[in-house]
């Protein structure tokens, strides 16, 4: 916040200078930004506007000539659709649990790695690898190697014949997603740990602060920006989780592990119901925007603390 008040006058001054030089300078300065801006608007915003347009229509691809305007009917249908509500709940649960657990595990692993020890490079390489393999490969790998009731590793370790994917579908999918995302969290947090000023830590040590005290009073506040960013990025990607559900459980059994991306996919590409899946898409965007507004505000506070919006 403090740097924001410092940087604002300078950017104002800069803007004034730019104005004095005439419009052409400001335009020239915007020029390098334009291609990226236009590209992103065209590819991300136009399809979404079409989604909004489709959401007011009854349109099923398997019934030719069925396309007509129905107003808000699709939205009414979506909200009275219990599967949609289940999928919404599953999405929230999956995102919150996975982000939280991956963050905690990532923090633990990062602390373990933030020391000098024999083979540290190898251990770090091992630990980041789940982030580097294809999520699709990871999902299939967990489905077969870990969760198989007869030949899986869990069966071998615990000796039970539990069919994990049908008895605990959502938890199984979560386990795989946590496994995939923990290394990403670990990398970010590790970077945070390693960017700590060593003299501050030494000073704390000299002053007689214990390890726990140092961690809580110095390391955690320093890490908070990294933790916030890991949460935000993790949430963005995990909310959109599709691979694990598509490949491990197909949303089942029943709708037990159906999340919104998977349900919309089902309505669109198996039910061919363009209107209704579009309405669901619009609702998801509105819900996400409500959550994201808070997240973005947090983010901007975070960014302005360190460098200011220069």
């Amino acid at each position: 916040m403090s740097t924001l008040s410092v940087s604002t006058p300078t950017s104002q001054a800069k803007a004034q200078v730019a104005e004095k030089r005439g419009l052409s300078t400001a335009a020239k300065r915007r020029l390098p930004l334009l291609p990226a801006l236009i590209f992103v608007i065209a590819v991300t915003q136009l399809p979404f506007l079409l989604t909004v347009f489709y959401s007011f229509q009854s349109w099923n691809l398997v019934r030719p000539g069925s396309r007509h305007f129905v107003g808000l009917q699709n939205y009414v249908d979506v909200f009275s659709d219990t599967t949609f509500l289940v999928a919404l709940l599953n999405t929230v649960l999956l995102t919150v649990v996975c982000v939280f657990v991956a963050l905690l595990l990532g923090l633990g692993l990062a602390i373990l790695l933030d020391r000098k020890f024999l083979g540290r490079g190898i251990v770090r390489t091992l630990l980041i690898t789940p982030f580097l393999i294809l999520p699709a490969a990871g999902a299939l790998l967990w489905k077969t190697t870990v969760f198989d009731p007869t030949y899986g590793l869990l069966h071998f370790v615990f000796g039970t014949d539990v069919d994990w994917l049908s008895e605990f579908p959502l938890a199984s999918v979560m386990a795989q997603i946590v496994w995939q995302w923990t290394p990403f969290m670990m990398l970010l947090i590790l970077a945070g740990l390693q960017s700590q000023a060593k003299d501050v830590l030494e000073a704390a040590n000299v002053d007689g602060a214990g390890r726990w005290r140092t961690f809580v009073s110095i390391t955690l506040p320093h890490l908070s920006r990294f933790l916030q960013l890991a949460t935000l990025l993790g949430a963005i990607y995990i909310v959109n989780s599709f691979d694990a559900i598509f490949l491990m459980t197909q949303g089942g059994p029943g709708t037990a592990s159906t999340n919104l991306p998977y349900y919309i996919y089902q309505r669109a590409f198996e039910g061919f119901d363009v209107g209704q899946s579009s309405a669901m898409g619009v609702i998801v965007v509105i819900l996400t925007m409500i959550v994201a507004t808070f997240a973005l505000r947090l983010m901007f506070r975070t960014f302005s603390v360190s460098g200011g919006i220069k």
Partner: protein, 277 residues
């Protein structure tokens, strides 16, 4: 007291190291097991208890490579490389404009870029399908190149902007006073500082493009399918061909794994700088 304490500390460090190793190996065990399985015969792949010792064979890897995997691999390579280059082509000037030459509305533009990452991709998939079908881009690599570029561009701009902010302002001013023009400034002062950051950004784009699943599954099929799409073919038959599935999963992940291993220091630096600046 003074003699006991260091020894105790030393001992504690040793056991912590062992614990770290054990935890790391347990954590990646499913992956290690997959790699092992990729070198098994099918009969050795599913036994109860699992077989740790067996005669390794390259048969499965060979089967995957000769079983139509290569077109998917080349599609993935093409899409990943081209979309990453496009991200850099569009993103570097944008990051420059947002960091070293900002004008009014800069933070709005930054906010806009990041907000596009918040849009769930499912919300746009139907129009994208219809548009690709009408423009005959459906099941072509071009649809994916465009979409992956737009998927990675916002994050890339955010990351690269932070590296541009690292360039000392005084050096640029000094260079300007000495009469250096923009190309010279870029080449002599700015690029050397930001180059590692651009490399890290490119790496992250490569990882996300190579592993992307949702667009690839919905917008491509036999002709333009990427490596993740190839793996989908195993859902129906995975019960029968575990070893071959493991071999395919290994081959599919290997390129990104190797790149990521080699450049992990870059990755950490890129993530942290992009994250916090």
């Amino acid at each position: 007291m003074t003699t006991v304490a260091p020894r105790k500390k030393q001992y504690g460090k040793g056991s912590l190291t062992v614990a770290t190793w054990v935890i790391a190996i347990l954590f990646v065990f499913p992956l290690l097991w997959m790699i092992l399985t990729a070198f098994k015969q099918e009969a050795d792949a599913y036994t109860d208890p699992p077989k740790l010792f067996f005669t390794p064979t390259f048969e499965q890897l060979g089967n995957v490579l000769s079983g139509g995997f290569l077109p998917y691999l080349s599609n993935s390579a093409f899409v990943t490389i081209l979309s990453t280059l496009l991200v850099l082509l569009l993103g570097v000037p944008a990051a420059y404009a947002l960091s070293l030459a900002p004008v009014k509305g800069t933070s709005n533009a930054l906010g806009f870029f990041l907000s596009t990452k918040m849009l769930p991709i499912v919300a746009a998939i139907i129009p994208l399908y219809v548009i690709s079908q009408n423009t005959e881009l459906l099941d072509t690599v071009w649809a994916l190149v465009i979409l992956y570029t737009s998927m990675n561009l916002p994050l890339a701009i955010w990351m690269m902007r932070s590296f541009f902010l690292e360039v000392p302002h005084e050096m640029i001013e000094a260079g300007r006073i000495d009469g250096a023009n923009l190309p010279t400034l870029l080449r002599k002062i700015i690029m050397p500082v930001v180059a590692p950051g651009i490399a890290a950004t490119a790496l992250i784009c490569v990882i996300f493009s190579w592993t992307e699943f949702f667009y690839a599954v919905n917008l491509t099929a036999a002709r333009a399918g990427t490596v993740p799409v190839f793996l989908v073919g195993f859902i129906t038959s995975e019960g029968l061909y575990w070893a071959q599935l493991s071999a395919a999963a290994l081959l599919a992940s290997l390129p990104v794994m190797i790149v990521g291993w080699i450049a992990q220091n870059h990755l950490v630096r890129g993530l942290s700088m992009g994250a916090v600046k």
